[in-house]
């Protein structure tokens, strides 16, 4: 189940829903993911019944359904972007434009009338055939394809990189020179939860317990049997000893022989 923050989704085959209230990724100071935490609320008949944080290794169980944190991602199809436009000839000029991909934003400016971002990739890479692709879903090298319009005429089209602002500097747009900075990029994060129901799992655990207990009993405490028959033969007592072991018979044999030997010595 892919859930965005605030989204409520039906659980397949269940009579309740789950809502993702919060999702955060914690990182180690050295980098690397420390934890994913999804705050999940179970909604039944329209009313919330239970809220808990789901982490890897800490699933939420409700009415025989278990929810596991399995993956996460960003919805890079709909990022909220911020592009800053500057003019090298006029250091005091700076315009911050908030827009979405595909949106044509009207700007009051002598040099151009509209600005748009026609594409955004979180991890820019040039693939085969010079095609622009994203290497991963991680925002390692976010890039936006900025287009500038004068009326219906497109006067500029070029990639701007958040981590390499130099590329956005001093582009010739019509008669003027403009710089573009990809200042901000935000995409809704989603959490991927796995919902599982396995009614037979109790039997699996029962089986496991029996198998393990059986092994430890059989091999750490093997059954051995020694029987002694005492008989009176002509006024004397005669002892007949017999032994049985299912495992490690040689060792038992040695032990048994020692027992018989020590009995002989004492009598």
């Amino acid at each position: 189940m892919e859930l965005r923050v605030g989204q409520t989704a039906d659980v397949p085959h269940a009579l309740f829903q789950v809502r993702l209230d919060r999702f955060e990724t914690e990182y180690y100071p050295q980098g690397g993911v420390k934890d994913w935490k999804s705050t999940v609320t179970v909604v039944e008949n329209g009313a919330p019944v239970l809220t808990r944080v789901v982490e890897v290794n800490r699933p939420l169980t409700y009415k025989r359904f278990s929810f596991y944190q399995t993956s996460y991602g960003w919805d890079w199809e709909n990022p909220k972007l911020e592009i800053v436009v500057k003019k090298p000839v006029d250091p005091s000029y700076s315009k911050t434009l908030s827009l979405k991909v595909g949106e044509r934003l009207a700007v009051e400016d002598p040099d151009f009338t509209h600005l748009s971002v026609s594409r955004f990739v979180p991890d820019f890479v040039i693939g085969e055939g010079n095609e622009i692709q994203t290497r991963s879903i991680e925002p390692n090298n976010p890039a936006a394809l900025v287009e500038v319009w004068k009326g219906e005429e497109r006067v500029y089209s070029g990639w701007t990189f958040a981590k390499f602002p130099d590329f956005g500097e001093g582009h010739k747009v019509g008669q003027a020179s403009l710089s573009f900075v990809l200042k901000n990029y935000e995409a809704p994060q989603y959490s991927v939860l796995e919902a599982a129901k396995d009614p037979g799992v109790t039997f699996i655990w029962l089986g496991c317990i029996f198998v393990t207990a059986g092994f430890f009993l059989a091999f750490y405490w093997p059954p051995r049997e020694i029987r002694v028959v005492l008989e009176e033969v002509q006024g004397k007592t005669e002892a007949v000893l017999g032994g049985f072991a299912s495992k490690s018979r040689e060792a038992f044999q040695a032990e048994f022989d020692m027992l018989v030997e020590s009995l002989r010595r004492t009598t």
Binding site: V56, N57, S66, Y68, T70, A196, W205, C208, F215, F219
Partner: protein
């Protein structure tokens, strides 16, 4: 004292132990074997200190990469050796077990194994890491002793030596098999159910653990039910240990899957 210093002292003690054990075996001085055992035990104590220190520094169980798990496997093997030697007296097997231990420690300290403490990925952050890995590796350490005894069985020249090796091999498997079942399979299943939502995913490591388990189960069945002994049993143990070895190394380096952490 740093972990590296303790680890080096451990290494030296294990080498000395192996040396004394081998000298006792080849010079036929049976009393020296006792000193070999004492040196191994001293190494185990220092090794334990090194593992504890690493746990304190890293804040997690000391078996999360190849260096750590090799070191722990060596530790478990020494423990298995000491337990079996104290209980059943195995002066002929012990020297070779110590050689394997020295090999494991040498491999762990080789430059191929990165030694830095790395933070744990979310999937490994669980107390099941302790239970699952330690008990499994302890079981495999007993398999290693059984493997050596089986090799020695095949190489033995007298009937008395053969019988002794056969018995040692059986005892090591009898101790190791329940541990491997509990740690490798059962604890692994419980943890997988908690972390991934399914107790069995046919991941390469799971499959190979199961193969290992089947081979040793075959050993025990043929022995206890059908009365197999000697050469056939020794060969099954050797195959079983090779399967365990592949589960341990092969799956980490050749096949990738859910267990690819190292």
């Amino acid at each position: 004292m740093t972990e590296a210093t303790l680890f080096t002292i451990t290494f030296v003690l294990y080498i000395l132990s192996a040396f004394v054990y081998l000298a006792s075996l080849f010079a036929k001085k049976e009393k020296w074997a006792g000193s070999g055992l004492v040196l191994a035990a001293a190494g185990l104590v220092v090794h334990t200190a090194a593992l504890i220190l690493r746990t304190v520094v890293s804040h997690h169980a000391p078996f999360t990469n190849m260096y750590e798990s090799l070191s722990f496997l060596a530790w478990a093997s020494v423990l298995a050796l000491i337990v079996l030697d104290r209980k059943f007296r195995i002066p002929r097997v012990a020297p070779y077990v110590m050689l394997i231990v020295v090999g494991l420690v040498a491999l762990a300290s080789s430059p191929l194994m990165p030694k830095e403490v790395t933070p744990l990925v979310p999937a490994l952050q669980s107390y099941w890491l302790w239970l699952h890995v330690s008990v499994t590796l302890l079981g495999e350490a007993f398999f290693a002793v059984a493997f050596i005894a089986s090799l020695l069985y095949l190489g033995a020249d007298t009937e008395e030596k053969k019988q002794k090796m056969d018995a040692v091999s059986y005892r090591a498997v009898a101790v190791g098999f329940p541990l491997f079942t509990l740690g490798g399979l059962v604890f692994g299943m419980v943890w997988a159910y908690k972390a991934w939502g399914t107790y069995w995913s046919w991941d390469p490591k799971e499959v190979w653990s199961l193969i290992t388990w089947f081979v040793f189960a075959l050993y025990l069945h043929t022995r206890i039910v059908m009365g197999w002994k000697g050469k056939r049993s020794a060969l099954i143990v050797i195959i079983g240990f090779l399967a365990a070895l592949f589960t341990y190394f092969g799956v980490n380096y050749i096949l990738s899957g859910l267990h690819s952490y190292a």
